[in-house]
Symmetry: C2
Subunit: 85 residues, 2 copies
DNA sequence: AGACATTTGTACGTATGTATT
DNA sequence: AAATACATACGTACAAATGTC
């Protein structure tokens, strides 16, 4: 891969920022930054870490939820899905 | 049902506006306001007709696309799906 | 009980980009 | 060139549920 955990969002790139973030988060999960059933950083933290709007963060998360990579617990956090579901 | 085509969005109701709009559009389609493979009003028109934000309209549409009720043709419009798909 | 911070859910308005007509 | 229409992103605000003190 070419999207490491330290990559930044490039607003000039052809790929939409929310897709870039989704790719970055996926890479970080595969890399083991966050374990299954463990929360990833909060939306607000991702906003600050990547310098993008919360709506963009939420969109990236929604994409990964669709893909079965993450699951959200309201008022609690966003978690990494276990391999077996 | 109780959500007819002339219903308005009630911001005070427990059901989120985007869900209210989805229900309204579904009712209007069932009622025959728009035929299969015909475009529903544009996002901007729905914004004006129902007095809600465009993001809310888009959310309602996304919900109905998920449910197979509508399909979107980029740069063209949003259409009613035929029963057989 | 109460106060407070955290986190997600929802909605608003606005701006820009891209493609079609 | 202009209007139309969807795609994406920004910022802001408040609600609701949760957890802590």
């Amino acid at each position: 891969m070419d999207l490491g955990p330290d990559d930044e969002i490039d607003h000039g790139a052809p790929l939409a920022p929310y897709k870039q973030l989704a790719a970055i988060l996926t890479a970080r999960i595969k890399r083991g930054d966050w374990q299954p059933d463990r929360a990833i950083p909060s939306e607000q933290q991702l906003v600050q870490q990547y310098g993008i709007a919360r709506a963009t963060v939420r969109r990236a998360i929604a994409l990964l939820v669709e893909q079965g990579v993450l699951y959200v617990v309201p008022q609690r956090g966003t978690y990494v899905r276990r391999a077996d579901g």
